[in-house]
């Protein structure tokens, strides 16, 4: 019990450190939010008029939960580059040379990233409300949707820590920064998979981010654009399971990558 308390205390020190980074250099999170707002404007207003939702409904309320999920997914870049940067600069080695729990550094990172993403989510939701998006579900459903979004962020966080430890060079971070685009867009966040060729639609509905977006649309009472397929019935379940699967797979792999540093 004492060890757990010590780990949490150490994690908190790391979290404070990571939060201080945003305080000192706020442009990174600000650009992150500005970027999501830009996506809303581009897709909501520029292209949205040309997009018809299967099953009917307005595009903007469809789009907003997709943007929420997308911004959670894009958070992986921040996690990965922070982890890669620390290990490149030798900060990770110094942490490893301290008599602290090995879990404290990733946990601290997780705390800071989740707080950052929660703030980003809050800004996006307020922005959404201002332009006419509404969460018309119950309070419980709305809270659950937010929890599911942060749960997706947590899954991405675990993956990001793993990738940051495993691919430390600049190339690794750049590759992920590019790859998040096709992977993020190959989903239901911007357009309904039904408008895609069958094989693409198949991939899109099995994208973890699609499950979270679909579940949030249901919970917020927004149009889902779904008339069939696996997400019609199981969006909520998949939104719980996908990040859980990422966590289950990548926590042991991350622990292994961390141990491998001492080889």
């Amino acid at each position: 019990m004492n060890a757990v308390a010590a780990t949490l205390r150490q994690s908190w020190v790391i979290t404070l450190r990571d939060l201080k980074h945003w305080q000192r250099e706020p442009w990174t999170p600000i650009f992150g939010i500005a970027f999501s707002i830009m996506l809303v404007l581009v897709f909501g207003y520029l292209m949205g008029g040309a997009i018809d939702l299967p099953g009917g409904g307005d595009y903007l309320p469809y789009l907003m939960p997709g943007i929420f999920a997308l911004s959670m997914m894009f958070g992986i870049e921040a996690t990965m580059s922070a982890i890669a940067n620390d290990s490149k600069k030798g900060v990770t080695d110094r942490f490893r040379s301290l008599p602290i729990s090995g879990a404290a550094v990733p946990l601290g990172r997780a705390g800071a990233d989740l707080m950052n993403s929660a703030a980003e989510l809050a800004v996006l939701m307020v922005g959404g409300l201002l332009i006419g998006w509404r969460a018309s579900g119950s309070l419980g459903a709305t809270v659950l949707a937010v929890v599911l979004l942060l749960w997706l962020r947590f899954g991405m966080l675990v993956l990001g820590v793993f990738l940051g430890l495993s691919f430390r060079g600049e190339g690794g971070v750049t590759a992920v920064q590019i790859l998040v685009w096709p992977i993020g867009f190959l989903s239901n966040v911007l357009v309904a998979p039904e408008s895609m060729p069958t094989w693409l639609a198949f991939l899109a509905q099995w994208n973890p981010i699609s499950a979270t977006a679909a579940a949030c649309r249901e919970l917020f009472g927004n149009p889902t654009g779904i008339t069939g397929g696996v997400l019609a019935d199981h969006a909520l379940l998949l939104a719980v399971l996908w990040p859980a699967a990422l966590t289950l797979v990548f926590v042991p792999l991350t622990a292994r990558a961390y141990r491998r540093l001492s080889r």
């Binding site: 150490q10 020190v13 450190r17 201080k20 080695d93 080889r263």
Partner: protein
């Protein structure tokens, strides 16, 4: 009963086909500065990382203050400080914040961490820069802050891995000053370096390592002595009778260099030099140049770490300018 700060026996570590450590032994004494001297790739960092429990070696045993590094890594980590090769600092945080953060990670309460941070900032002359981002620090300041971070918990043993690599001469002096302060405060220091003058300046004992093994160990004086004592080099004018000169001086002739080498006796180089001058005077011989040459640590280093070549190596490898340039003849005290 007290244990030596560090004992390593028979360390082996392979990375693929490379033997980073190949039967490496080391023992260091309390309160001393011990230098691990070797060229790039000699295995210095692997050795230090093994001592600090960052790297697990394939074979061998490391005991830090009597504790087995493999079985009790946490106890070892609690008693050592590691200052790695790259200044492992958070560039965005202020200098003080870095120290407070590491102090908190070491388990100090907030106020104690602050106090200790201020104390260390004062010790290393960083108080003025305490509330500036580390990214604005000079190389020497970063290094000093890095060392301060390694000292937060007052470790009995501090590892400094190439503390001055990449620093300008001013930064290097600052770090040397810091290392001397640490030792005066009673901390045992193991530092790795590829600079001989650094080992010469700072270390009480030097272990020369190459290709993962110890090739020599001793004080700077002892190591220099290994290459023989002082010698006087006398250069004859062109067409002079070299053999006659050698006979008059009791030395050995080198026709190619037109040089006679006189080994100094137990009285040392100055006495030998005086003797040579007297003998020349007595024999009425004229020479071009007289040099008193003492072996430098550079020569020792190059000699010990030279890769064995098929052809016989010269006794004094002359592949670098510093090894080539003998010290000019100046009787002791003449320049004081």
């Amino acid at each position: 009963m007290s244990f030596p700060p560090l004992v390593a026996r028979g360390l082996r570590k392979r990375y693929g086909d490379t033997h980073a450590l190949d039967g490496f032994d080391l023992e260091i004494e309390t309160g001393a500065v011990h230098a691990l001297l070797g060229p790039n790739g000699a295995g210095k960092s692997t050795a230090v990382n093994t001592f600090a429990t960052l790297t697990r070696c394939d074979e061998g045993e490391v005991r830090v203050a009597g504790r087995d590094a493999r079985r009790e890594p946490a106890a070892v980590r609690a008693s050592v400080g590691l200052v790695g090769q790259h200044a492992a600092l958070d560039e965005i945080l202020f200098g003080r914040e870095n120290l407070v953060m590491f102090g908190r990670l070491y388990g100090l309460p907030k106020s104690a961490a602050r106090e200790r941070a201020d104390e260390l900032l004062g010790t290393f002359g960083l108080l003025d820069a305490a509330d500036r981002k580390v990214s604005t620090y000079s190389g020497g300041m970063r290094r000093r802050l890095d060392i301060a971070a390694g000292l937060i918990r007052r470790p009995a043993l501090l590892f400094l891995d190439e503390p001055t690599t990449g620093l300008d001469p001013r930064g290097r002096n600052e770090v040397w000053q810091a290392v001397r302060q640490i030792v005066d405060a009673g901390t045992t220091v193991l530092l790795t370096t590829q600079y001989l003058d650094e080992a010469d300046q700072l270390a009480d004992r030097i272990t020369v390592m190459n290709t993962g093994r110890v090739v020599a160990e001793g004080t700077a004086q002892e190591l220099k002595r290994r290459l023989g004592g002082d010698r006087v080099l006398v250069t004859a004018p062109a067409h002079a009778d070299l053999d006659r000169l050698a006979a008059a001086l009791g030395g050995t002739a080198d026709a190619e260099l037109r040089q006679v080498t006189v080994e100094a006796g137990p009285d040392g180089g100055a006495a030998a030099l005086t003797g040579v001058v007297r003998a020349l005077d007595a024999a009425g011989l004229v020479v071009d140049d007289i040099l008193l040459r003492r072996p430098t640590l550079d020569e020792v280093f190059l000699d010990l770490t030279a890769a064995p070549a098929p052809s016989a190596l010269p006794a004094l490898p002359a592949s670098t300018p510093s090894a080539l340039a003998p010290q000019t003849a100046r009787p002791e005290g003449a320049h004081r």
